[in-house]
């Protein structure tokens, strides 16, 4: 009789209750995060619904939600995009400085200094922009209006207090600078060392090495980081609420005292004094902001993650 070929059954690993509870709890926590994210969308939608279905006369402004939100959306987009235009080249330059130009020994400390910019609470940026930056921009704004007034951005008349879109843009740029810098620095740090050394060995100057080895490698990170910064700028609230002098309307004029507000700042300014349908309208505008930032962030993360998968570094 041939020996039985069936292997003895592996002893069943006892599933201890502790294991089951712990695995369940940690999975539950992970799922909770997804639930919260879905909950944000769901609760905002529920609370925004009355304003979406209400007759247009009841909405603040009297012409419906779309007309109410559009100038705010415009202000949000224009402030964030201009802030990004200022911040992203600057952030790339700073990341290059810290990674390739600064003396090795103090580079980490310099990076920490830039990170401190992100630690300052936004309300303090607002107070700073209002008291320090705004008065500083009055004279340059006058000059811009006189000499470059033919460009719609600087059409004027320049504001006398300096509480303009220009100041809001600069403050936003300062606030998103450290976030962009951090991601771009991370990318530059992962540039394959051999690529850098090979190009230096072929006689490239430092800038040529950066252009040929580091920048192509970090390109998608720079794009992703900029979009992260854009998302942050879109949702930034208090600094804009304090700095900007608001009068509604849609204008590209950066230096006048009549500016469109942003969605976030408008909510912060109006919410404490609102009640009834006005609150629902504000939440509807918040829903729009949430949708936009979610889309921007998802694209940004997808771009950054794609680089992780296809880069030569790992």
């Amino acid at each position: 009789m041939p020996p039985s070929t069936t292997r003895p059954k592996a002893p069943k690993v006892p599933q201890r209750p502790g294991d089951r509870i712990f695995a369940g709890a940690s999975t539950g926590a992970g799922v909770l995060i997804l639930v919260v994210l879905a909950g944000v969308a769901a609760f905002l939608l529920v609370e925004a619904w009355p304003s979406l279905t209400a007759p247009a006369e009841d909405i603040p402004g009297g012409e419906g939600v779309a007309v109410y939100v559009w100038p705010l959306l415009f202000g949000t987009l224009i402030s964030a995009v201009f802030a990004l235009l200022i911040a992203s080249p600057l952030a790339v330059a700073i990341a290059l400085f810290i990674t390739y130009y600064a003396p090795r020994r103090i580079a980490a400390g310099l990076g920490y200094l830039i990170d401190l910019l992100a630690a300052v609470p936004s309300i303090i940026y607002g107070l700073w922009g209002f008291t320090v930056l705004a008065p500083l921009t009055v004279e340059p704004a006058n000059w811009l209006a006189e000499n470059l007034g033919f460009i719609p951005l600087f059409a004027g008349p320049p504001s006398a207090t300096g509480r303009t879109m220009l100041v809001a843009v600069i403050v936003l740029a300062v606030m998103i600078l450290p976030i962009i810098t951090a991601v771009v620095r991370e990318a530059f740090r992962q540039t394959p060392r051999l690529h850098e050394e090979a190009s230096l060995a072929l006689g490239a100057t430092r800038w040529e090495m950066i252009r040929m080895a580091a920048l192509p490698f970090g390109r998608s990170s720079i794009i992703g980081a900029s979009m992260l910064g854009l998302g942050r700028a879109l949702g930034e609230t208090m600094a804009v609420a304090i700095v900007l002098s608001v009068s509604g309307g849609v204008t590209f004029n950066l230096i006048s005292s009549a500016n469109p507000s942003t969605i976030a700042a408008n909510i912060a300014l109006q919410f404490p004094e609102s009640s009834g349908i006005a609150v629902n309208t504000l939440i509807a505008s918040g829903l729009v902001l949430f949708a936009i930032t979610l889309a921007v962030n998802m694209v940004a993360r997808a771009v950054i993650n794609r680089r992780k998968e296809f880069s030569g570094a790992n």
């Binding site: 992970g30 130009y101 630690a119 320090v132 304090i242 940004a300």
Partner: protein, 361 residues
């Protein structure tokens, strides 16, 4: 006897093909720092003696230095090296430019905030205060209570999620959670506030304000930060430790609790501290969920509370007559806030430096 060919090859060694000496294409040693020093002195002179504004003098100085070093290098060294020097100057200027707002913010907050940075500020609330005096005791306590509650919610959830992602998570669910945690870090703080408001408005009716709402809004912002930092730290724990523990027949959950988490504890503590530092200065979500009050309310389940950031905001935008007292309080609150944040950042660095596991002996 030397042949004519060897003679000619010997002389070739000393005359490069172009006929120019090999050391010609370089600026003299120390040219860049010297130019910089001269330009800086000139700019200093413009500021001190020609009544220029310091910013204007600095900008003109930077431009002049960049132009001089570029043109000089272009004439002597050629366009490639000149571009290199130009980029070096530009990149350095960008870094210095970014430091300006940081310095300016710190100086402004310090010079304005010290006026009311006294014992009365830390021991009085604003109850019955019109004009001079009063303090932010109620606001400081409110900030501490709400932030502590937020940490109490987010640290367990964040820790467990990170444990799931590193130790248990496989497949689509883990991927989705990782992705959406990243996305969640980008949620605007005001939207988090609206979420907490919408949630509680459904239960308690519109117009509700409570401390716990603020804590929930803050934890929406805090959880992703805790997850990301804890996840990074857990990934650093060497697999050998886990395997050694399994080999001793220790169950998985005890391995995680007794081996993995203690090893990563310093990093986790750093991450949590930084997460607290991030949310403690938030204004927008507290403004719409917690509101403001002028007297002590330390019960987060009952009505409006004061918080430091919202206190600073209202003192600034609604000053009394004369406004100076109120503005001073606003700046003192801002100074307190910035000190708390900086101390938390410092503590985080210290924890990670002092308690880091020694990986190599």
């Amino acid at each position: 006897m030397p042949t004519p060919t060897s003679q000619s090859s010997e002389s070739d060694l000393y005359t490069p093909l172009t006929g120019a000496p090999l050391t010609a294409g370089q600026l003299p040693r120390g040219a860049a720092p010297l130019t910089l020093a001269i330009v800086a002195l000139a700019a200093l002179g413009l500021w001190q003696f020609a009544d220029w504004s310091p910013a204007g003098a600095a900008v003109v100085g930077a431009l002049v230095y960049t132009a001089v070093i570029y043109l000089w290098s272009r004439v002597v060294e050629g366009p490639r090296k000149a571009t290199d020097r130009l980029v070096t100057a530009v990149v350095t200027c960008a870094f210095l430019l970014a430091l300006l707002p940081l310095i300016s913010v710190v100086v402004t907050v310090l010079s304005n905030g010290l006026a009311r940075f006294d014992t009365e500020f830390f021991s009085y609330s604003m109850r019955g205060i019109v004009g001079e005096g009063g303090g932010a005791y109620h606001a400081i306590m409110g900030t501490l209570i709400i932030t502590a509650l937020a940490a109490l919610i987010s640290v367990p959830v964040g820790l467990l999620t990170a444990v799931y992602l590193v130790e248990y998570g496989r497949g689509k669910l883990a991927k989705a959670i990782t992705f959406f945690v990243d996305v969640m870090t980008g949620i605007p703080s005001i939207v988090a506030g609206l979420f907490a408001y919408a949630l509680f408005a459904l239960i308690f009716g519109p117009g509700v304000r409570m401390g716990i709402m603020g804590a929930i809004a803050l934890s929406v912002l805090m959880i992703p930060v805790v997850v990301r930092s804890t996840e990074e730290m857990l990934k650093l724990v060497p697999n050998e430790l886990r395997e050694a523990s399994y080999a001793l027949a220790v169950p998985k959950w005890r391995t995680i609790v007794k081996v993995v988490l203690p090893t990563a504890l310093a990093g986790i503590a750093t991450g949590v501290t930084l997460a607290i530092a991030r949310v403690i200065g938030e204004t927008a979500p507290l403004l719409i969920t917690v509101g403001i009050t002028s007297s002590d309310n330390f019960n987060p389940f009952d009505g409006r509370m004061a918080t430091l950031s919202v206190f600073s905001y209202y003192e600034y935008v609604n000053p009394g007559v004369p406004p100076q007292f109120s503005l001073d309080r606003a700046w003192a609150a801002a100074l307190t806030l910035i000190i708390i944040v900086m101390v938390l950042n410092l503590v985080a660095r210290l924890i990670s430096r002092l308690f880091a596991p020694k990986t190599r002996a």
